[in-house]
C-alpha cells in the first residue's frame, strides 16, 4: 500500500466487498424467497437453476476477495508463491464455477433479449479474459498477463459497479425497475472495461 490512491482503492474494495458479503449472507441458510430470487419465479423452482444460482453467489465472493492480494506489488514480490496459489484459485473458480454459472443464469436473465445479451457477453468475456491471463503467465509473458488480469478483474468488479450504477440511476431519475436493470446490464461492465483499457495503456508498457 504505497500511494494514497491505492489506499483509497483498497478501502473502497473493502467496503463494497462487505456489502457484497451482506448480500451473499441473505441466502444463508439457503433460501428461495428472498432478494434476487423473488424476481425469478419462472425458474427458481428448477433444481438446475438453484444449483447454478447458489454456486455463482457463493463462489463469486471468493473471486472478488482475491483482489486484495493479487494486485499488491508487495505480495507479488515478497510472496510470489502466495500470488501464484491465490491466482490459481481465482482462475479455477472463474473458469469452472462462477463464469459458467454466470453464463447459464444470463441465458434466462430478466430484462429481455438486451439484458440477456449483455450478461451472456459479460460471462463469456470473463471466462475468456481469465483464461488468456492464465495462458499468458504460463508462457511467462508478465505484461500480457497483467493486461488480461486487469480486464478479468474489471469484469469481476461488475458485481459491484452494476449495483453502484443502479443506486445512482435510481437516485437521479427514479425510472421503472426493469428499465434500470436493462441499462445497468450493460453499464455495469462496459464502463469497467474502458477503465481497465485506460489503466493498461497508462501502466503497462
Amino acid at each position: 500500500m504505497s500511494s494514497p490512491g491505492a489506499l483509497i482503492c483498497y478501502c473502497l474494495l473493502a467496503i463494497f466487498s462487505y456489502l457484497m458479503l451482506l448480500i451473499t449472507l441473505q441466502y444463508i441458510p439457503v433460501q428461495l424467497d428472498v432478494a434476487f430470487l423473488l424476481t425469478k419465479e419462472s425458474v427458481e423452482q428448477a433444481t438446475a437453476y438453484q444449483v447454478v444460482f447458489f454456486s455463482h453467489v457463493f463462489s463469486s465472493m471468493f473471486v472478488l476477495l482475491t483482489g486484495f492480494v493479487q494486485f499488491s506489488k508487495y505480495v507479488q514480490q515478497k510472496f510470489p508463491t502466495l500470488h501464484r496459489n491465490v491466482g490459481k484459485i481465482y482462475v479455477l473458480i472463474v473458469l469452472l464455477i462462477s463464469g459458467p454459472s454466470g453464463f447459464a443464469m444470463a441465458t434466462v436473465a430478466n430484462g429481455g433479449w438486451s439484458a440477456k445479451l449483455a450478461f451472456c457477453l459479460l460471462a463469456l468475456c470473463w471466462i475468456l479474459f481469465t483464461y488468456k491471463a492464465y495462458a499468458s503467465i504460463r508462457k511467462g509473458n508478465i505484461a500480457l498477463h497483467k493486461a488480461w488480469m486487469y480486464r478479468s478483474y474489471a469484469l469481476t468488479l461488475s458485481a459491484v459497479t452494476l449495483r453502484f450504477w443502479k443506486v445512482i440511476i435510481v437516485f437521479a431519475f427514479e425510472p421503472r425497475p426493469m428499465d434500470v436493470y436493462r441499462v445497468i446490464a450493460w453499464l455495469g461492465w462496459v464502463g469497467n472495461l474502458l477503465v481497465a483499457e485506460w489503466m493498461i495503456k497508462k501502466r503497462i508498457k
Partner: protein, 314 residues
Amino acid sequence: MKPQTLLLTSTIVFASCQSAIKNNNEPPKDSLPERTSDVILPVPKATDNPAVDKPEDLLGYWVGNFEPDIDRDSLNKKMVYYNEDAWDRTNKINVSIDSIEGNTIIGHSVDAGTSQAFKGLYNFHNNTYSIILKEPGTNKYDGTFNMTIEKNAPALTGNWQAFNKIDIPRRKFILKKVAFAYNPAQELEDYARFADWGKWVKNKVDPETEGWDKSYFTTTEDVIKYNASNRLLTEDEVANLKKGDLYILRNSIYARHGFSFKNRPLRAFFDRQEWYVPITLNIKSYYTVLEKKNIALLLRYEKTARSYYDTFGR
C-alpha cells in the same frame, strides 16, 4: 492514516451499511390481503327503484360523501395536505338500510374501514320521508343520522351528529342508492395520483430537510394501464412497475370488491373513484382465483420494490 484509525473508520462505515443493501420497512398492515375481519355484513334486498316511492324502496346501499360539517377554521386545521393535493377528511360512506318493519329501520353503515349498526324510525309527512337513525353508542365514534328524502327524489340528504366530543363531531351527506355489483372489468379512473402521506421522512442526502416518503407515490401512467382483476398479469409486466403502482394495482382488487379501507391515503384515493362503494370489511372470501394469483405476484414484487429498488442489494 494509522492502522487503528483506518480500522475504526471502516468499522463505522460497515456498521452503517446494513441498510445500504436493503430497506426493511413494511407495508401498511391493513393493506395486506389476510388482514381483513371475519365479520360478514348483512346485504339488503334493494328494490329496482332508484328513487323512493314506497317505504321498501328505502332498502339498499345509500352511498355518498360523508363531509365534515364544522366551521372553516377548525376544518382547515384538520385538512391533510400532500403533494399539491389535499384531503378534507371526507369519507365515502355507505348507509345500508337492511330491513324495515312497520316504522322501524334496521341497518348498518360502512366507512373508513369500520362498520356500525344502527336502528331508527321513519315518518312520512308532507310527501317526505324523515328518518332518524341511532348508532348504539358502544363506540366512541357513534352518533345519530338525521335525514330526509322527498317521495320519488333521487337522493337522501342529511347530517350526522356524534354523541361524544370527537375530532369531527358533525358531518353532512347526500346519499344515492347504489346497486353494488362486483365488476372485474372496472378500470381505475385517472383523477389524481395516489400518495402515501402517512410517512414523513428525512431526506436521504440532506437530513436537514424532510418530506413525504415519495417512494409510495404513483407517478406513472402504469397504474391505470393494467387491471389486476380481469387479466392475469405477467411477470414481465409486474417486474417493471414501481412500488406505488404495484401497491395500488393490488389494492384496487380489494376496492372492486367493496373493501372499506382503514388506511387513510388508500381511502382518500379510492373514495374519489366514482364506482367505488365500501360494502365490506372482509374480502378474503371474495377474491377470484385469478385475483389470488395476481395478489401473490404483486405482493412478491412489492417486497422486491420496497426492499431493493433504491438500495445496493440483491
